[in-house]
């Protein structure tokens, strides 16, 4: 830590420290300066409507004082950075971002009340398709197959789910159909990528275009003409886990959801275990990092890739089912609105790990639900700009993280056996 010259010190310590000071000042000026000391914000900690959770008092905070505290957090971090240097720059950025969002929420809720539990709950729900898309990406790319076609898989299985659900009247059959169709599209992508060695991004884009065309075609040829007979499936009921759902705040957020959200959370854990603690996971990762070495040791590279991409497709199929039978019970054209791509960004942000991808998806889900809640609060920002939030967050996250995130070494490279 010896200071040999002034320049590295300025660059590594002083400048980031000053930036953190600036962030603190910005937080105060934007969200604290125009507020009166007496104004308060109420955050609801109990879910609205029927619930099993124990009722606890809501959280009421003085806006100005809280914003001052949050801006001081940034200033404190800046001072720490200048005096001692912060090892993990990611942590500092994360904390400042949290302070910024929290201060923004306080400002937006001044003299108003806002259901924090509702917001967290909808964050998780909105993160579900993103997380499933991201998990599909993780399992495929760990075996070195880039799948850009996730968006298309989501769209096709969303439509499959609603049609099968309405026709059969059984949502579980619909769920299985969606998963199978997702697997089928995954199999097609695997065939293109592994057997024909097609540029994987081109194949994925072809899947996306085909999916948009096919679902729109089916929509305007069949669904629009017979809405009640084909496009009105209803949605999965909310399941409350006994006991666990009684926990205040966390209970209603985590343990009162529909089956797809639960399956998603289970899949995160299962995929983590499979990838890092089973022979199959080891083989998958080997195939993703160094297929030739894996091949030499007797791992069937092609088979591994086929299975992973198909499984990924099935996971994405589950994600697609969320859009219709998990959320609105109806299919609209192009209803996935880029969620598959946001899932890919979540995968990158989560450094190709299931838990990382899940956490990143929560961030995107939060941005998505924030946008909805803010419209309800009626803050003076046009709703169109709020709707951009998830996309902008995706770009910022990608820009900030890609340089340091390492993709599996063989990602996107077809394997040539010789």
């Amino acid at each position: 830590m010896a200071m040999t010259s002034a320049r590295p010190f300025i660059k590594s310590r002083l400048l980031p420290g000053l930036l953190l000071f600036l962030a603190g000042a910005v937080i105060y000026l934007l969200f604290g300066s125009g507020v009166d000391w007496s104004q308060q914000a109420t955050f609801g900690l109990n879910p609205t409507g029927r619930t099993e959770a124990l009722v606890i008092p809501d959280l009421t905070l003085p806006v100005k004082a809280s914003v001052v505290v949050l801006s001081l957090v940034a200033v404190f971090l800046g001072a720490w950075q200048m005096a001692r240097g912060i090892r993990s720059s990611g942590l500092a950025v994360g904390l400042v971002a949290f302070a910024f969002v929290a201060a923004f929420l306080l400002w937006a809720t001044k003299d108003n009340s806002f259901s924090l539990v509702g917001m967290l709950s909808s964050s998780l729900v909105r993160a579900t398709p993103i997380a499933l898309a991201a998990l599909c990406g993780v399992i495929s790319e760990r075996a070195a197959v880039v799948n850009i076609g996730i968006e298309g898989i989501l769209l096709i299985s969303a439509q499959t789910a609603v049609i099968v659900g309405t026709k059969s009247g059984n949502l579980y059959v619909a769920l299985i159909a969606a998963i199978l169709v997702g697997g089928l599209v995954g199999a097609f992508h695997a065939l293109m990528a592994v057997k024909f060695k097609v540029d994987q991004i081109v194949s994925g884009v072809a899947i996306n275009i085909f999916a948009v065309g096919a679902t729109s075609f089916v929509s305007s040829r069949f669904l629009e003409k017979d809405i009640n007979g084909l496009n009105n499936s209803g949605t999965f009921p909310t399941i409350s886990v006994p006991l666990l759902s009684k926990i205040p705040v966390l209970g209603p957020v985590l343990f009162e959801n529909n089956i797809i959200v639960f399956l998603m959370m289970i899949l995160v854990v299962v995929l983590h275990v499979v990838l890092f603690y089973t022979p199959w996971g080891l083989r998958t990762r080997a195939v993703g990092e160094h297929p030739k070495a894996a091949d030499t040791l007797g791992v069937n590279v092609f088979l591994t890739r086929y299975v992973n991409v198909i499984l990924g497709g099935m996971i994405a199929g589950l994600g697609g089912a969320y859009f219709t039978i998990g959320a609105v019970g109806r299919f609209d054209e192009v209803m996935t609105a880029g969620k598959g791509f946001i899932g890919l960004a979540a995968m990158i942000f989560g450094k190709w790990t299931p838990f990382g991808a899940f956490a990143a998806s929560l961030l995107f889900g939060f941005a998505d639900s924030l946008q909805v809640k803010l419209q309800i609060l009626g803050i003076p920002i046009p709703s169109e700009f709020l709707l951009m939030a998830p996309y902008i967050v995706t770009m910022v996250v990608l820009a900030g993280v890609v340089g340091s995130a390492m993709a599996p070494a063989a990602d996107g490279v077809p394997y040539e056996k010789n």
């Binding site: 880039v146 850009i148 293109m192 024909f196 060695k197 097609v198 540029d199 991004i201 081109v202 194949s203 884009v205 072809a206 899947i207 996306n208 275009i209 085909f210 999916a211 948009v212 065309g213 096919a214 729109s216 075609f217 089916v218 929509s219 305007s220 040829r221 069949f222 092609f302 609105a337 880029g338 791509f341 946001i342 890919l344 960004a345 990158i348 046009p382 169109e384 700009f385 709707l387 951009m388 996309y391 902008i392 995706t394 770009m395 990608l398 820009a399 900030g400 890609v402 340089g403 995130a405 993709a407 990602d411 996107g412 490279v413 056996k417 010789n418």
Partner: protein
């Protein structure tokens, strides 16, 4: 699978021998393969049309009572659909013949205008496709996959519309300025993902898609707020006549100067790619970025420039559509142009001449599909299905070769992009 492997390894020496031949025996395939891809796409499209047709399905239910009727109905359905597609795209030959007859006997030109109207509409439709297709193609040449042409197209349209209705200038200033405005808006919109790719390595595929969604929201806001025309519809005001691209023929025919602008842009791209140092660098970066870096090419600068050029072309496409055809921008203005342009660039093998030809084909297909929708009741989305298939067939020529038993003569491998952040 191992049997397959030995087959390909056996094929290798033959391939190398063929490459040594000076005659380039596979030259005809450059034209034939894309055409076969489109043809196969149309064939599969025909199958989709038939199996989703209630009348045909009903006929096959009673197949054993009336087999000929079922088969006849199948072909009749396809014939009606694709007949409408053809006459919608190129005009009906019968009407053209009759119109010429009228012209020579009575000197009347009305019929002629009506007979050539479908063809002219196909050219009108092809104009923005050429520019957007060039946008994607130039990206491919540099190893960049710009799937955000749709957003850039929209921003270009909005930019040129804004200049078109805000300023009031003589045409020789107004029109170039409006076109330039479209190109600049598109270039700036594409510069963002380009810059992010060059500096942070964030993949342009995800970022351009995100920029697309942002542009849709932005245009929603603009069309309902700052750029809204008086009235209740969310559209921009009509551009001044001094900013419009002049039309070549009297009214129903909308073919305009934009077509020439698109051809000129293609020529410019050709010159830029194959006759300048910049173009050489672009192609070098696209073929091997690492080698280019060691050869002293500034790869990040190249990436930003190519993305901006790509965005400028897409934006110009939007501008020609506004200034030449619609004269105002409404919601859903850009729908489909992004994905269409990818298909066109792939179909044209990313070569400017190929892009012109495939854009003409695509314009005809799209234009014909509108007639197919109104005449035969086939949703226009069938074109997107065909499109996805065409891209698959172009990207995986193996399928076409297998279907039509064409031998592999050249080493062809479509590698257009690389993995994340490399």
């Amino acid at each position: 699978m191992s049997a397959k492997e030995t087959k390909t390894s056996k094929a290798k020496p033959r391939k190398e021998k063929d490459l040594q031949d000076k005659k380039r025996p596979g030259a005809w395939q450059v034209i034939a393969m894309p055409l076969l891809a489109v043809l196969t796409g149309l064939l599969v499209g025909a199958i989709v049309i038939v199996v989703t047709d209630a009348r045909v399905i009903a006929a096959y239910r009673n197949f054993f009572q009336d087999p000929l009727g079922a088969i006849g109905l199948t072909f009749q359905t396809i014939l009606v659909a694709y007949g409408a597609l053809f006459s919608g795209a190129l005009g009906s030959p019968e009407r053209i013949f009759l119109a010429f007859e009228r012209l020579f006997t009575t000197g009347e030109t009305d019929g002629l205008v009506r007979a050539f109207w479908p063809l002219s509409e196909s050219l009108v439709a092809a104009t923005p496709y050429m520019l957007a297709g060039l946008a994607v193609a130039i990206g491919f040449k540099a190893g960049l996959f710009n799937i955000g042409a749709e957003g850039q197209f929209l921003m270009g349209a909005l930019g040129s519309a804004w200049i078109g209705y805000t300023f009031h200038l003589p045409w020789y200033l107004h029109l170039p300025l409006a076109l330039l405005g479209g190109a600049v808006a598109g270039a700036l919109w594409a510069a963002v993902p380009g810059y992010l790719k060059a500096t942070t390595g964030a993949h342009e595929v995800v970022n351009t898609i995100m920029m697309n969604w942002i542009s849709f929201r932005l245009s929603d806001w603009l069309l309902n707020g700052p750029m809204k025309a008086t009235g209740y519809r969310p559209i921009t005001p009509v551009v001044d006549s001094t900013a419009t691209l002049p039309r070549f023929f009297p009214d129903p025919i909308r073919l305009n100067l934009g077509f020439i602008v698109a051809l000129a842009a293609a020529a410019l791209v050709y010159w830029l790619l194959f006759k300048t140092t910049f173009g050489f660098e672009v192609r070098a970066v696209g073929t091997n970025p690492d080698a280019s870096k060691y050869a002293g090419i500034n790869v990040p600068r190249n990436i930003v420039l190519v993305m901006m050029l790509s965005g400028a072309l897409a934006g110009l496409g939007g501008a020609t559509q506004v200034l030449g055809v619609d004269h105002w921008v409404g919601q859903g203005f850009s729908a489909g142009y992004g994905f269409d342009s990818i298909a066109i660039a792939l179909l044209g093998k990313s070569h400017p001449v190929g892009v012109i030809l495939s854009a003409l084909l695509w314009g005809a297909l799209r234009n014909g599909a509108t007639r197919m929708q109104s005449m035969a009741g086939i949703p226009i989305d069938i074109i997107s299905i065909i499109q996805g298939l065409v891209i698959v067939f172009i990207a995986a020529p193996v399928i076409i070769r297998w279907l039509y038993r064409i031998r592999t003569l050249e080493t062809e491998k479509v590698v257009l992009t690389r993995g994340w952040g490399k």
